[in-house]
């Protein structure tokens, strides 16, 4: 009898024994989860995603946890919505319905900033290859330059599904992508000031002329989807879903669907995606040299994106005889509307009469389209080159 009680107590203490014997990486990852809780709750850093990711990370790193074992709750969520790229695409429908392309349609030339803002993707790809990552790993890391979490997860998970990159790398990439997106207000302003002169930052741009008709707003998502499908069919799910969300919103005839995409669907997908991504952060697989390199390269990607946008802005400033404020180029990334607001704040800091918001919004929505287009083109090139 006493033997049975002792062995039952022993079973209860199995987790503690494991923690002392092999739990070093788990303890570190639990500390990482706590740091993410602090960032999400105390600092409000992307709490919608960081909080569930951190909780998933906590769950998977508790000793003897089976949440990511076959049949475990996080493994089921992973297979259900990450393994087949469903959750990132559902989030894209929500993003599309939250995005207003009116400033872009009123000032289409600013769409080109959305291309310059993707320079970080392709330069980081070269850097990652130089550091010894495989082609598929390098493309996944480079996708952080899209400044778009769902894009990173979509691309990296596609390779994880083909066993071309480790599953744990998807978690590292997602956390890096979302962390740097949240840190855009910290990363961008010093680069803006470093690369522009005071005279350039003070340039006032006139308000965009002309309104946009409802018909043009409705036709836009359909045409963008068709063009993406023809030029880069591998990225059609990404662009198609973001444009579907926008199409539902601007059509004005399915407000319930647009609201559901923006709220319930996006929220549920975000929760499940966060938990499942956190589940890939098991200490023994996550704590590697590659993870540190992913974080370093992610920072480089977003920095180079900003540099690319501002340099195009400076070129435009010169060609237009000083009529374009180069700061607007910094908004050509996908962090919407954060990057646009930063440009507005930075412009007003140097010239109180400066009102760059609508121009920056146009560049910012251009950045959203540009990032998805760059990922789509990258995937289609990989297919063309026989890599996937």
């Amino acid at each position: 009898m006493s033997g049975a009680i002792l062995s039952a107590l022993g079973a209860l203490l199995e987790g503690v024994r494991f923690l002392f014997a092999h739990g070093g990486p788990n303890v570190i990852m639990i500390a990482v989860a706590c740091a993410m809780f602090w960032l999400a709750i105390a600092k409000r850093v992307e709490p919608l995603l960081l909080l569930p990711i951190a909780f998933g990370c906590l769950l998977v790193n508790l000793p003897l946890s089976e949440v990511m074992a076959p049949g475990g709750v996080l493994k089921t969520l992973y297979d259900f919505g990450i393994g087949n790229e469903l959750f990132p695409l559902l989030i894209f429908v929500g993003i599309g319905s939250m995005t207003d392309f009116t400033p872009l349609l009123a000032n289409p030339r600013l769409l080109l900033f959305g291309a310059a803002g993707q320079l970080g993707i392709f330069i980081t790809l070269l850097l990652a290859l130089g550091l010894g990552f495989s082609k598929e790993e390098a493309v996944s890391v480079a996708a952080i330059g899209a400044c778009d979490g769902p894009t990173v997860i979509f691309v990296s998970n596609m390779f994880a599904g083909m066993n071309k990159i480790p599953t744990a790398m998807v978690g590292a990439l997602a956390v890096a992508a979302y962390s740097y997106m949240a840190l855009v207000p910290v990363i961008q302003p010093p680069i803006m000031r470093l690369l522009t002169t005071r005279k350039e930052r003070e340039v006032q741009m006139p308000s965009p002329k002309g309104k946009v008709s409802k018909a043009a707003l409705i036709a836009f998502p359909v045409i963008v989807t068709a063009i993406t499908g023809i030029i880069a069919p591998q990225g059609l799910p990404l662009m198609g879903m973001i444009m579907l969300g926008n199409f539902m919103k601007v059509s004005g005839v399915v407000p319930r669907l647009a609201n559901a995409a923006e709220n319930e669907i996006a929220n549920i997908a975000t929760l499940f995606l966060g938990l499942a991504i956190g589940g890939t952060m098991a200490g023994n697989q996550f704590l590697t040299r590659e993870t540190l390199m992913v974080f370093g390269l992610g920072l480089a990607a977003i920095t180079i994106d900003t540099v690319g946008g501002i340099l195009l802005g400076k070129l435009w400033y010169l060609l237009s005889g000083g009529k374009v404020n180069p700061l607007v180029g910094a908004a050509g990334i996908s962090a919407y509307p954060m990057a646009a607001r930063l440009v507005q704040n930075e412009g007003q800091r140097w010239n109180k009469r400066n009102y760059l918001l609508m121009h920056a919004m146009a560049a910012n929505t251009g950045g959203q389209i540009g990032s998805v287009m760059a990922a789509a083109i990258m995937l289609s090139l990989l297919k063309g080159l026989g890599v996937i």
Partner: protein, 47 residues
């Protein structure tokens, strides 16, 4: 294909392709805005 050739190809064709596609889109947007101008009643609605 070695990594350097792959990286340069992706940089040139990828960045060039993105830029060219977005330039094409700017032309499409201009065409759309011309094809579907704002009607007077839309202006009143917004005003």
């Amino acid at each position: 294909m070695n990594n350097l050739t792959f990286g340069i190809t992706m940089l040139v064709v990828g960045m060039g392709g993105t830029l060219a596609t977005l330039f094409l889109l700017t032309l499409v947007i201009r065409a759309l805005v011309t094809l579907f101008p704002v009607r007077p009643n839309e202006k009143e609605d917004k005003g």
